[in-house]
Assembly symmetry: C2
Homo-oligomer: 151 residues x 2
DNA sequence: TCCAAAACTTAGCCTAGGCTATAGAGTGAT
DNA sequence: ATCACTCTATAGCCTAGGCTAAGTTTTGGA
């Protein structure tokens, strides 16, 4: 039963390198996206986003959050008012909106292809940072096509 | 047209933290998986896997490869015979096999939901490390279900 | 009002994963 | 047999993203 087709040739060195480079870039932005997304969620749901709560929700120490927030401030995504919580800049809010939209899309897509809601939510956390625009478009098309049938 | 449903409540702190922790664990193993997968591919396709070639295909300097290989050796995944190339240990080969199977599954799945082969291949590079076993199982089921129709 | 608890900051440390520059080793072609 | 070229290793540096421990501020309740 084994398909003994011609072994798939390796991609060209340049193509493959380009993929890995893009990959590493995505990794670098992932943390920033997770933070602004979470800050936006907290602001919406609780009215404020405290560093302590971020630490608890990210599963990380307060010191790590402080560190990360400093970077996000440097990058113009977040503003802090000590003892008043964290706020998003224009750019931060925009990034959060895009991140959230992507997250939601990925979750809905995963559910549509048969994953339970819990796992979909958990996996989306990782997958959302690595789906290209083309992939997201494909997911959206898939959801559209299947919205007539179920739901 | 805006669905103005009740705002989705935040997940519990513990659940959310657990997701992010799992996330970070996946990130840590991703590089190792990429390396052993690539080494396996090179061994298969070219008969040998040289550090130089890894550097070119990973889009990284030779020094970085040397560094990474040292870690992989320490972790019992890779063996080196200088000027003879790199080899996988038992554990390394096993990891490579699993990684490759996952990679292939993700690629086929992405194509099945409408992505072009090129993008599927590129995106799989990132996505493969963040799909849980449950997600992979769902992808496999999806492919099975759709294999009767097309192809 | 005041003071303990909670929130935040700072210092110091670590690993992974990048880099450049340079030195050293091995191979293969002449 | 040699020597140029290729491959590998090493030194030294950097950032991100973790940690613990030990301050410092602020807040809010008694």
């Amino acid at each position: 039963m084994r398909r003994n087709a011609v072994l798939k040739p390796l991609p060209s060195e340049d193509d493959q390198a380009a993929r890995f480079v893009r990959q590493r870039e995505a990794d670098r932005t992932a943390v920033a996206e997770d933070y602004v997304e979470l800050i936006a969620d907290l602001l919406r749901a609780e009215g404020e986003a405290r560093a302590v709560d971020l630490a608890r929700r990210m599963g990380v120490s307060q010191a790590t959050v402080a560190n990360t927030i400093t970077r996000l401030q440097r990058d113009g995504l977040v503003e802090t008012r000590p003892y008043r919580g964290l706020f998003l800049t224009e750019a931060g809010a925009e990034l959060a909106t895009r991140a959230k939209a992507r997250h939601e899309l990925v979750v809905r897509f995963l559910i549509a292809v048969g994953l339970d809601a819990e796992t979909a939510e958990a996996d989306a956390e990782g997958l959302e940072h690595h789906a290209s625009e083309k992939a997201l478009a494909a997911f959206a098309r898939f959801l559209d096509a299947h919205n007539g049938k179920r739901r």
